[in-house]
């Protein structure tokens, strides 16, 4: 059997982390290809429900990354993201989601090497944790239950 290759979704902002990941490319720093990037204008735009949707649909790990505090292109979008994240994290934890599968980080447009580190460390960690099936199962069973009850 081939080794487990985790699927990792990265939600990043356009101005810092997306540009930082571009710099990783221009600097030709290699990293694991398990990560695929979705570009948002700002971390403030990220609806954390998308994290749940991702897990429910087969993601094994998630990275959320934007500008460092005070560096937001839109002044304060990343602060709102962080505040929302603090709340949402608790909620996800309560729901039984394995928080080790999520990396929340700041990567600036100048930190090409850091992006590679963030990706690699996340992929390594998620690889050790194995495929994320429990949440998917939970969601699917509850849907089934609803269907049978109806």
């Amino acid at each position: 059997m081939s080794e487990f290759e985790p699927k990792v979704v990265a939600f990043v902002c356009n101005w810092c982390t997306y540009a930082g990941a571009d710099l990783t490319g221009t600097s030709r720093i290699k990293y694991a290809s398990n990560v695929k990037i979705i570009r948002f204008p700002c971390t403030g735009r990220i609806d954390f429900m998308l994290l749940l949707k991702s897990f429910a649909n087969g993601a094994d790990g998630i990275i959320v990354s934007g500008c460092h505090p005070n560096d937001c292109h839109y002044t304060s979008g990343n602060f709102h993201a962080k505040r929302r994240w603090i709340m949402f994290k608790e909620l996800m934890d309560f729901m039984g989601i394995d928080m080790n599968r999520i990396t929340f980080s700041w990567v600036s447009a100048a930190e090409g090497a850091r992006w590679a580190e963030v990706v690699n460390s996340t992929v390594t960690r998620v690889r050790e944790l194995g495929p994320y099936v429990s949440y998917k199962q939970m969601v699917n069973t509850s849907i089934e239950e609803e269907v049978t009850h109806a």
Binding site: E5, K7, V9, N14, W15, Y18, A19, A21, D22, T24, G25, T26, R28, I29, K30, Y31, S33, N34, K36, I37, I38, R39, F40, P41, C42, G44, R45, I46, D47, F48, L50, K53, S54, N57, G58, A59, N70, D71, C72, H73, Y74, T75, S76, G77, H80, A81, R84, S108, A109, A110, A116
Partner: protein, 667 residues
């Protein structure tokens, strides 16, 4: 029904070396709604763009995905091409196969599969993209220049001479910057003040320039063409209209022992002072921190002696709010001081000085009247050592870069010393001599060949004091790394050029990026060295990295042209990637419930209230409405809205959800 075209670029071999482009094109070609899928060596080239345009027409495409480099690089190129073929530019998306895939992964199946996934994400997205029309906004034709060094002065004059208004904000009491402190300037050795002062006066007298000295930017709102800046005009404690600049107060002030910043601490100034005789404006300020009146509540000598009664002890800071259309940042640089160097005595030895201090010693208007005298006892140094690259090019000290100006000013310093102290000996420790520039290398050669400056290739490990002398220990690497010891009377460190104090805070206020050394970051290192990543904000001079006067002036003029080009338009077109609140037919009008939480998170105050009235004129519902001129499209409100009433063009909830599902291959 959607008809999508996909164009896979090889980027020479940049993409095709690791990604099997043929396989990507083929796999994507089989997706539902993909009407055309092809590959080509250079999509951005003329034939590449023609290929795209032809395909749009031939296959009646309703959306395209150009799979090439980063959209941050070529999105405008391909959107323009799409528009030329009659396709709305916002129906063109780019898949980043180069920076995010081929350049960062090895050549293998997984990389090609990732490439396919990346393209598929964008194909699914573009299917639900909306055609959008650009937004038109007016341009306020007034520029703000921040920093009144030579770069800011040049930019302000150039912009003003195109007929546009300029607001010049300088935080110190006078314009002039570091250039006003210099004695003579390389490579011609002309006196710095003599070439600078006329420019300063021109600024003061220019009908299009409004000068605010002793002022700082408090905050900035808005966007290109339409900024609002708040400027804090610090209290000078004098009435500038009444003050004639006679200077009587400065001579009578009893508080005389304040270290003089302009003289780099090598002299004193009173509490009410003008930084230097040629200051513009030539009006004093009271340094409230040191003034006896502010400390002890009595003195007021200046008020008594002032012939025009211009002193105002109770003057408050003023906040001015001004509309501007473009900004030039020209806040300059600073240098590391001697206390940064433990190996050279932490700044403890009085006769180990930095380059700016040497400039003041060599300056005819300086504390010694231009005589080279050592600070400890006022004796002429017989043996002087210059240490180049003090701190620069030294990753261990956190400064890996070359400060660029020190090789040249060190040669200048050694020359100036030799011209003044004929019998003296000047030694220069250097790593390499970097003197690229018109007449620059000739200048250094003159120091070596005509003024007999002793250039030693090697670094200085320590400097310590012994019997009133400074022992300089180093090596001469051209003599086979021979250890070397020079007994010197004075040492001048060419310390690293660093970002100016407050640069980081200013960058944050202006929302522009800066690098890890806190220098302001250009939009592109080669092709956009004058622009920042924030539209309408430009860079000039040493605030970007240490640079000499000719480079600072050239860039300042460059920035001025950028501003003038912007001001040549009456209207700007803006990207329509802004938020919108849904509307539906009465009696609902919108799903918005009017909680206005969105209003409190919007960084740009772009969310307004719209009232719906019944026939009697009574308000029956109030909902949110986006001001498209102000909205910058961050989307913070979208993620927050609990009734999902706001959405963002280009990044709609539906699009983001679709992208995630496509990524996970749920389709």
């Amino acid at each position: 029904m959607a008809r999508i075209g996909v164009f896979i670029c090889h980027c020479g071999e940049n993409i095709s070396a690791t990604v099997d482009c043929g396989r990507v094109a083929e796999t994507i070609g089989k997706l539902k709604h993909v009407a055309y899928s092809t590959e080509y060596k250079y999509m951005c080239s003329d034939p590449g763009q023609t290929l795209i345009k032809d395909a749009i027409k031939e296959y009646k495409l309703t959306g395209i995905v150009v799979s090439a480099c980063s959209p941050r690089m070529h999105e405008p190129t391909f959107r323009k091409a799409a528009a030329e073929a009659g396709l709305n530019p916002y129906l063109c998306e780019m898949a980043n196969l180069r920076e995010h895939c081929s350049w960062v992964h090895e050549k293998n199946d997984m990389t090609t599969e990732k490439a396919i996934d990346i393209v598929r994400i964008l194909v699914e997205k573009v299917k639900i993209n909306n055609a959008l029309l650009p937004i038109k906004v007016p341009v306020t034709k007034t520029a703000l220049v921040i920093g009144g060094g030579i770069a800011g002065i040049q930019s302000a004059l150039d912009i003003a001479n195109t007929g546009h208004k300029v607001i010049l904000v300088e935080r110190s009491p006078s314009i002039g910057g570091h250039m006003s402190q210099l004695s003579e300037t390389f490579p011609t050795l002309d006196c710095s003040q003599c070439i600078l002062t006329p420019r300063m006066v021109e600024v003061a007298q220019h009908p299009n320039i409004t000068l605010y000295t002793y002022s700082e930017v408090e905050s900035l709102d808005g966007f290109i063409g339409n900024f609002t800046v708040k400027i804090r005009k610090k209290a000078r404690s004098i009435d500038e209209k009444d003050c004639t600049g006679c200077g009587l107060c400065t001579t009578k002030c009893p508080q005389k022992k304040i270290p003089n910043e302009f003289e780099e601490g090598m002299g004193f100034r009173p509490a009410i002072y003008t930084p230097f005789p040629q200051a513009v404006p030539n009006k004093p300020v009271i340094d409230r921190e040191h003034c006896t009146y502010y400390i002890k509540g009595k003195c007021k000598v200046c008020e008594i002696v002032c012939p025009t009664k211009a002193i105002r002890f109770d003057q408050p800071d003023q906040i001015l709010e001004i509309q501007i259309g473009a900004i030039v940042i020209a806040t300059g640089f600073d240098i590391k001081r001697t206390d940064f160097f433990p190996e050279y005595g932490f700044g403890k030895y009085k006769d180990v000085i930095d380059g700016l201090q040497f400039e003041r010693l060599a300056s005819a208007s300086g504390p010694t009247g231009g005589a080279i005298l050592r600070p400890s006892d006022g004796v002429v140094p017989k043996n002087i050592v210059f240490v180049a690259c003090a701190g620069s090019r030294d990753p261990a000290k956190g400064i890996a870069y070359c400060s660029k100006i020190c090789c040249m000013y060190t040669a200048k310093h050694a020359m100036l010393y030799k011209h003044k102290v004929h019998e003296g000996k000047a030694h220069v420790f250097y790593m390499d001599i970097r003197s690229a520039g018109k007449n620059y290398d000739e200048f250094v050669r003159r120091a070596i060949e005509e003024d007999y400056v002793n250039y030693i290739r090697g670094r200085v490990s320590t400097i310590y004091e012994c019997d009133g002398k400074l022992i300089v220990k180093g090596v001469d690497t051209l003599l086979g790394a021979q250890p070397l010891e020079i007994v010197a009377d004075m040492v001048v460190l060419a310390t690293a050029g660093v970002a100016n104090s407050g640069a980081e805070e200013l960058a944050q206020k202006l929302h522009v990026s800066y690098d890890s050394h806190k220098f302001f970051a250009e939009a592109h290192p080669k092709l956009k060295p004058v622009e920042t990543n924030t539209a309408g904000i430009f860079l000039a001079g040493a605030c970007q990295n240490p640079k000499d006067i000719p480079d600072s002036v050239s860039q300042a003029s460059g920035a001025a042209v950028k501003v003038a080009a912007l001001f040549s338009q009456n209207e700007l077109t803006r990207e329509p990637l802004v938020a919108f609140v849904n509307r539906c037919s009465p009696p609902l009008y919108s799903t918005c419930v009017g909680c206005f939480l969105c209003q409190s998170v919007c960084p740009y105050q772009a969310i307004e209230r719209e009232e719906f009235k019944n026939r009697d004129g009574k308000t029956i519902k109030t909902v949110a409405k986006i001001n498209e001129g102000l909205c910058q499209g961050c989307g913070t409100c979208v993620a927050l809205c609990r009734s999902k009433s706001i959405d963002l063009h280009g990044y709609t909830n539906n699009q983001m959800y679709t992208e995630v599902m496509a990524l996970l291959n749920v389709y």
